[in-house]
Amino acid sequence: MVNLFKHAKACTTAFAVAAASFMTAGHATAADDTITIGYAVALTGPNATGAGISTVPNYRLWVDQVNGEGGIEMPDGSRKMIEVVEYDDRSSNEDLVRAIERLASQDKVDLILPPWGTGANLAIAPLMARFGYPQLAVTAVTDKAPEFAARWDRSFWMLGGGHDYATGLVDVLAQARDAGTINNKIAAVSVADGFGIDLIKGARPAFEEAGFELVYDESYPLGTSDFAAIMSEAQASGADSFVAFSYPPGSFGMTKTAQAMGFNPKVFYISVGGAFPIYPGIADGKADGVMAIGGVDGTSDSVKAYFDAHTAFVGNPPDSWASAVTFASLEMLEQAIGRVGLDHGDLAAELSNGTFDTVIGQVKLEDNQLRDLWTVGQWQNGAFVGVGPADKTGAAAPVIPKPEW
């Protein structure tokens, strides 16, 4: 559960740090013993919720850690402290684009970290390409990642596409069905937004191919707050598996509604929000067995260390999907700088071809994309762990049927 007071404190401190760091940003580039890193993310507006979980805390944590170790190591073994230039894009792509122009042409920062969101990352991609900065887009889920990686050759796409997650889920469900644990009926709902539509479009043919029958398949508008009608329809559909391609308000609302009405499908799958640290609190401590998008290696020590560090620095653990990947992308950047320095072309080449040790294990990009991803996770014994793909190192066995609420 979020501790509101603690959060407020963390927020003000972070704000003070950011403000202080900005004051010095103007002449920072002149100094040789620092490197300036800039980013523009949503600190206010509708995107602030997403950025506030997956992006901003990780950026701040990483900078804190690196500077705590004396700075980023350069190829010659020297270390440079990181100075941060942080802007608020107010959840508007127009403001975001301008902020990137500002970082690149006014502040002349050494590196630019990406914003939160698919649309935001796409909006800045042409600019980043024009200025030559490498762009490690994490919080951008798009099936067109291969196209984009080819279009802007210094862009890297780290979180896959809707199709990956949809087929990953179908694989997990197909195994359970083949084992006779669940029937072949699926009730699916999707949020009427780019993300939800991408996923359901990927899932429909995948379900069909695997021999599943979609007995309930509806989308609901962004902003829906009441799920009683949808959930009672899903319950009446006779499906053993409930699948929601949803955003946090929907994921949370459906969980509560299912609990209240005693809807106990054998598989209960939700999307964004399911891997958030506040989820078990929302599920009234009964999160075990709930599946959701994403996941981390539950057996990995580095993941555990990362979670502890995040909790200590921010006040709450990270989410178990995009956060770890975000942090890993920063570690990649750090290691790439250590190998080739700050030249953008060399950095991009190294990111593209190199192999990196990160919290999520050894990472090697394929065609500028991270393909070795957790697609399905599940709450098991109070932790959210990756269960699919089943052949991925550290994959836990899915618990199906889910224990009743």
């Binding site: 829906t224 009441d226 946090p248 308000p249």
Partner: protein, 287 residues
């Protein structure tokens, strides 16, 4: 299926109606179209969660106690912010002024909420138990909201219709210019109306916190929903708002169950716009 729609719809409608009661009072009596209404409800929701997590205070206690707090806040707001506007202008100019001023208030409260509570989604689990009525399971916390709505709304309707105080409120609501002629202190009555509206907004917000996920930037959604209901019920018409809220719940549930969940919001807006265009006095008002 009919029973399901009826019960789910009424429960949902109850939460909607509760949300709209305060707004209709504020505009009906105080003539202030308060666009910061949703932020006021949000503030109450955050207070409930903070009290529960920080001090272990039972949400139900907060729901009971936040009304009076809201009344005081509303009274202050009216005196400091709205009264000068009312004193300066009336009619259409007041409408525009109050909309712009409360717009400012909207951002102000939102900014403070962001600063204090952060941008993240907030959600608690409280009384998420199911209760079965005629074979349909509904969440207890939503049922409580419906109960509060029926009790408070019913009491308001009766009080407005039968008491001296209610008569004064109605007199000011109908003809603010001639109310002083019969010895009514219009400013006082308007302040009471605005404060009462704020109290209801706070109560509704605290109730919302029990069953819904919310974040600091989501207040406008509540304002929009309340506005739709207020317009449907007829501005200033408490009974109308109650009926319209329940009706909207039924319609949304019907559309989600029988037609397509994707069209629930579209249906809401369609009804809203049709009422605005053809019966701006509301579904239940006189022509």
């Amino acid at each position: 299926m009919f029973v399901t729609i009826l019960i789910l719809g009424l429960v949902l409608g109850g939460t909607y109606a509760l949300l709209a009661l305060g707004l209709t009072l504020q505009y009906g009596i105080a003539r202030i179209m308060n666009l910061a209404y949703g932020e006021l409800t949000l503030a109450a929701a955050f207070v409930l969660v903070a009290l529960m997590q920080g001090f272990g205070i039972s949400p139900l206690l907060t729901v009971a106690l936040i009304g009076p707090v809201g009344y005081v806040v509303g009274s202050l707001l009216y005196t400091v912010m709205m009264k000068p506007l009312v004193a300066r202008s009336s009619g259409g100019k007041l409408d525009v002024d109050s909309i712009l001023a409360t717009f400012g208030l909207l951002f102000l409260i939102q900014g403070v909420l962001l600063l204090v509570f952060g941008p993240n989604f907030t959600s608690i689990s409280y009384l998420d138990k199911g209760v079965t009525i005629f074979g349909v399971t509904v969440a207890l916390n939503r049922l409580i909201a419906l109960g509060i709505c029926v009790v408070v709304g019913g009491a308001l309707v009766i009080a407005l219709a039968t008491t001296r105080w209610g008569l004064a409120l109605r007199a000011v609501a109908q003809t603010p210019t001639s109310a002083p002629l019969v010895g009514l202190d219009v400013n006082k009555v308007a302040r009471q109306g605005f404060a009462l509206g704020t109290a209801l907004a706070a109560t509704a917000g605290a109730t919302v916190a029990m069953y819904q996920t919310f974040s600091a930037s989501g207040g406008v959604v509540f304002t929009m929903k309340a506005l739709v209901i207020v317009i449907m019920g007829g501005v200033g018409n408490v009974g109308g708002a109650l009926a319209a809220g329940l009706l909207l719940g039924l319609v949304e549930t019907f559309v989600a169950t029988a037609i397509d969940p994707g069209l629930t919001l579209a249906a809401t807006f369609a009804i809203f716009l049709l009422v605005l265009l053809f019966r701006p006095q509301g579904l239940f008002g006189k022509a």
